[in-house]
Every structure is written in C-alpha cells, then in structure tokens.
C-alpha cells in the first residue's frame, strides 16, 4: 500500500517536473501552449541561486521569469510576429568567474540579451563578458557605481545606484525632519563595510546633513556577515544620538534591530538608507515590534500602480515575499523586453541601440520616463517608506506617498 502511494507520487512528480521543465523551456508556465509563428527570442537570466547570495538570487530569478511569463501570455513580442521569449537560466554560484562563464554559454546559445546578476561583484564580471560579445546586459540590482562607470556601451542599469539612493535618502530625511519641526541634532550611522556600499553612504550623508545643522556624531561600521551587534548597541547607549541611520543587508538588519530592542536602545527615530530589513515584509511579519516606525530609503515600486500590486499578489501566491529583488529584476526584464519590442529585432546591436534610446514609461516603478545616460537610468530613484502597524507605507516624496510620517517615534 505504501509502495503504491510512493510510486504514484514519484511518477507524478517526475511527470510534473518534466512537464514543468517543458513549459518553462517554452517560456510559459501555467498557460496553454500557443503555437507561435516566429522563432522565440532567447534572453539570458543569470543569478547566484547557490552560495551565499542564494536567497536574493532566487528572488531575482522569480521576478525576471514573472516578467517573461507576462509578456508571453499577452502575445509575445508583437513586432516579431508574436515571438515567444525563451529564458535561458544561469547560476552564478555566488562567484564572479562562474557568472562570466554562464555568459559565455549564453553567448554560444545565441541569446539576444542578458538580465542579471544581483550582486555588484558578479555584475561587474558578467557585464564585461557580455561586452566582449556585444550582448546588451541589463543590471537588475547591483548598486555599485563602478558598474556604470567603465565606459561599456552594452551595460544598462534601470534602477538607481547607491549615489542616487543616498542623495535621495538625505533629501527624504531633511523633509521628514522639517515636517516634524527639526527635532534632530545628532545622528549616528551604522553601516556595513564589507561590500563597500556602506562607506560611501557615510561620506555623502555627513556632507548632506551638515547644512541643516545636523551632526553625524559617529559612524559605526561592521562586517558582513555579522553575528553580534552588542558592542554597537553599547556604543550607541553611550553616544545617545537622536536618530540612527543604518545601512546593511537583511540578516544584519534583522539582528541589529532585534539587538536594539533587547538592549532598550530607543532613539527618536531609525531612518535607514538601504536598510536590509527595514522595508521587508517578512521582517515586519516575523518581528512586528522591532519593526515599528522604522523608516527606510530603499528600492520600492510605485504604490499606486496596478501592475505593481498585481505582481505583489502573484509573488505572495507563490509563497514568496515581495521584496526589492523581485520587482527590480521584473522591471529590468520588462525594460529589456520592451527594448526588443521597440527594436523589432532579436539582433544584439539593434537591442542595445533601443535600450540606449529608450524612453519607456510603462513600468511599475516610481521612475517616470526612462532616460539612459552612460548606461544609468537617470530617472531611477528610491522611495522612503515607514513600517506602520503591519503595513509598509510610502512617506516620501509626496507624489508617491500613501501615509504620513510618524516622526519622532511615540514613546
């Protein structure tokens, strides 16, 4: 009896897996297979789905594939006679050289474009390898400004780099502070320094806050990964700043906020810039108390956009959290597919030109019309969010706001 169940389960599993693979290979999943007139267009999708960055890599992959499914379901690339989009998946194994190797495979397989690769150091390698073959490469997350400052004409970043994010972070904070009557005098920055984005943020923040009479009293850096924030909590108790500005990855963000809670460190506000946990639904659902009133200047979707909310539903339905990896990768892929549509061709050069000239505004992000300068979308910007109750609302800028800032924190 047990064997029969096992056999049935195994058989149906393999059947399901094979069918799933076939459907995925056809670039569609869950939808009926429609006969296409034209050859499919191949797009490479490279992410670190194993190794240290595996969680973020898998989330990115989901977002990118969601975009492809959507386009295929609505008729494929119309300017190519309804051609389907075929995703060619690559695993960078969280190593730059493996990512570059995946690009070579994709170059051989004749991909027209590549989207990837989450981590800045992997992106540097993949974009360079793609440049060798003239393949246009849309970078989904990688915020390092090195990515778009090498003069590579094939590299495009649709989302903001950390320079733009920090600048918006400063503006957002000054606005929120002003609206509350300027209660802030001293600030402490708590940043990660292992992958470098933290160090740059400290410099920009200090300069940006000085004109408003706000002093950055201390910059407390820590490595990634980090397993203990006690020292930092103790120092913060000694310094007692009005506001904390953290900037780090998810795990460290969670541990930091929980440590603050445990050690009863209670500043007037916590305003993060690229705070890893601060605008993450999973953190809010798992640690609602520690997350309350935390603000974050980070990647976010346009909260009033129907497409963004539809993607959120779809992501949650798949049992996944709707975080920045998903919507940034989704958008980078949509940008790529839109360029292919505009180019009316699967030719790499044509697509690159279409990307460079793109003015695409039909996306789910708060970026306005696209404008690429040296591979960076100058319209890209973060939003400022705040955790209020069990929800994450946008508090700045006003044209995208869904909530009022609660600042300082209630006692």
């Amino acid at each position: 009896m047990k064997n029969k169940i096992k056999n049935t389960t195994r058989r149906s599993f393999i059947q399901g897996a094979t069918a799933g693979t076939a459907l995925a290979a056809a670039g569609i999943s869950g939808f009926p297979h429609v006969v296409r007139a034209a050859d499919p267009v191949k797009v490479g999708v490279i992410h670190p789905v194993t190794g240290w960055a595996q969680y973020s890599g898998s989330q990115c992959r989901f977002g990118a594939l969601a975009a492809i499914e959507e386009v295929n379901a609505s008729g494929g690339i119309k300017s190519l006679g309804g051609a389907a989009v075929d995703a060619m998946l690559g695993d960078a194994q969280s190593k730059a050289e493996v990512g570059a190797g995946e690009v070579e495979k994709m170059a051989d397989a004749g991909v027209s474009a590549i989207v990837g690769a989450y981590a800045s150091n992997i992106c540097l390698a993949t974009t360079q390898a793609a440049a060798k073959h003239g393949i246009p490469h849309a970078v989904d997350v990688g915020v390092s400004d090195k990515i778009v400052s090498r003069g590579l004409t094939n590299t495009f970043r649709f989302g903001p780099g950390f320079g733009a994010i920090t600048k918006a972070g400063v503006e957002g904070f000054l606005a929120v502070n002003k609206a509350a009557g300027n209660p802030t005098k001293t600030v402490a920055i708590v940043n990660e320094e292992t992958t470098g984005f933290g160090a740059g943020i400290a410099g920009i923040m200090t300069k940006g806050l000085a004109p408003a009479g706000i002093e950055v009293v201390e910059v407390l850096s820590h490595p990634t990964p980090n397993k203990d924030f006690r020292n930092i909590a103790l120092k913060l108790k000694e310094i007692d700043p009005d506001v904390l500005i953290p900037s780090h990855y998810y795990n460290e963000g969670v541990l930091f906020l929980r440590t603050l809670q445990r050690q009863k460190v209670q500043p007037k506000a916590i305003y993060s810039v690229l705070g890893g946990a601060s605008s993450q639904y999973r953190f809010v659902s798992e640690f609602p108390d520690a997350a309350q009133y935390v603000m974050d200047c980070n990647h976010w979707f346009d909260p009033k956009n129907a497409g963004a909310l539809a993607l959120q539903k779809k992501t949650n339905a798949a049992g996944l959290h709707y975080n920045y990896e998903v919507f940034l990768a989704y958008t980078a892929m949509m940008f790529t597919l839109d360029a292919i549509e505009r180019a009316g061709s699967a030719d790499r050069t044509a697509i690159t030109e279409a990307m460079t000239a793109s003015t695409w505004g039909g996306h789910i992000m708060p970026y306005g019309a696209t404008k690429m300068e040296n591979g960076q979308n100058t319209g890209a910007r973060p939003l400022v969010m705040q955790v209020q109750g069990s929800d994450i609302g946008v508090i700045n800028p006003s044209e995208y706001a869904t909530a009022e800032a609660i600042f300082p924190r209630p006692a």
Partner: protein, 338 residues
Amino acid sequence: MTTRERILGWAFILCALALAPLFITSNRWIDFLELTLFIAVLGQGWNVLGGYGGQYSFGHAVFFGTGAYIQALLQYKLGWSPWLTLWFAISGTAAVAAMIGYLSFRYGLRGSYFALITLAFAEAFHVVSRSWSSFTEGGQGVQLTLNQDPALALATFQFSFGGPFMKAYGFYYTIFAILLISYAATWWMEHSRFGAQLVAVRENEDAAEALGVNAFAVKMRAICLSAAITASGGVYYVQKFLFIEPGIAYGTAKSVEALFAPIIGGLGTVLGPLIGSFFIHGVGEVAKEAIHGIFGDRPGVDLILFGIILVLILAFAPRGLVGLLERVWIRLKARRDA
C-alpha cells in the same frame, strides 16, 4: 611507465591543449577549458607543497589572493604595466610564503596543525584586506580600468577587446602558458635532488633528517615554489576579470578548489592536478546537464551530486585518478605483452 612513455604522453596532452582552439570554436567550451586550466594551476601549486611535500595547506587562497592583490594594486595605485607587476606579484607572494613557512616550520607544525595555521593565515589576510581600506580599497575591491582599444590589448594585458583571435583565445593561451611553465617547473623539481629530498621529508621527516636532509630548508623551498605557482593563477584572474575583492581573493572557495584537484587527480604527480581539474569540472558540467533534465532548475542539486561523487572517489580510488589510470595502463600492457 617508462620515461619515454611519459614524455610521449605529455607531448600528446600539451599538443592537444595547444591546438584545442583550432577545433573548438564554441565560447562556452573555451571558457570551460580556461577555468579548468586555471584550477589545474592552483592545484599544482598546492600539489608541490601537499602532494610532494606532504604538508597539507587548508588556506592556499592566501597565495592566490596575495598574488592577485599585488598584481591589481600596483596597476591601480602606481599605474605600472601588468607585465612588470606580475614579477612583483609572484615574488611578493613567495616572500609571504617564506614568512608563513618560517613561522610554521620553525615551530615544528605538521599535519593538522599545519593545515589549521594556513587556514588562520588565510582568514587573517581576509580580515586585513577587508578592513585596511586605505591600502586595499577594503570591501569594495580593486577595479582596474578596462581597455577597449584593440591596439593596446597586448600592452595592457587585456584581450577582451583585442582583435578577433585575441578576443577569443588570448586568455586561453595566457593560462596555457602559465600551466606550461608551472608544470615544467614541477617536472623539473620532481626529477631533481630537491624533489627527492622533499619526498623523503614527506615520507618520514625524522628519518630524512637523520640521513642529513635539512628538512626545514627543503620545506621552505617547497612552500615558496608552491606560492609562486599559485600566485601566477592570481595574476591571470586579475587580468581576465579586472576585479579583485577580499572574498574572492581570500575566501575558502579557492582554498578548496586548490586542494580538490590534486587529491582527486593524484597527489605527488605532475599530471594529477590537471586530470583532477578536468574531472571535477567535467563532472560539474555533466551533473548540471543531467540534473537540469530531471529537476528543472532547482538550485543546489548539481552540487549534491558533485559532493556524492567526491566521496565515492575518495572511497574507491584513494590514490586518485592517476593511480587508477596507471593500473589500467599496466593491465593493458600486460595483456598486449602476454
């Protein structure tokens, strides 16, 4: 195997590798070969110290990373030519090896203790490269300027934007040349007095000392040669990817790759690291394709298969693939002669 047979075998392998680009036009397979040869170089470096010398290092990344950083920093900060910096990268790393070797061997560390101290040094270098930002650019890493002018490809030791031949095969022949030189050095060492002394130290250090071998000096030479070979891999990496950062340079990944290849291929043989590297990457590729067919693209499955195969090899072919191949060769010859 007679020496004549060995030389013929090597000539065949080297010719095949040298002429491979004539037959392989696929980028993906050239890239596969490059990565395989790269690991084969790192593996040979480890093999000199571990296979021949019996001193197992678990932190060989310290030599890869230091070679890579010197190569990168001299270009980045002083603007030197990569053809000049590579000499400093290799000799500088050998100097670091001398320091580590001096401390370890002077205090008589062997076996697991030696393995652990190399691990400690790799981690120490990792922490320093990550924290001493003013010197090493810290966590952001060192990014070298990309050269897109084909005329300068050779001068800047960057082939990605050179002419069509350079673009496709420039780095392949770079790593092949490095392999050739380092394997020749290992071959020379194996057949020299130094090599014999090294093996004697490996087999029984005390007995070798009693016979008049200066074990300390022999081990020091071995660790310096080992480091030089491994550092040349670092030079290749920096020129190819134009980027190095603490995790890539000193992380455990390179240490593990450096020791897997010779152990699977065959310790204390010149061919071992090369065969081991081909096997590991070949199995990795096969695993990926096979898994893809059944499980779709769920991550991690190919690595599970890889780990299992590794354990099986260790269980059933402890002398490595070279040992296996030799047994097969002897059987074939016996059958032919009979």
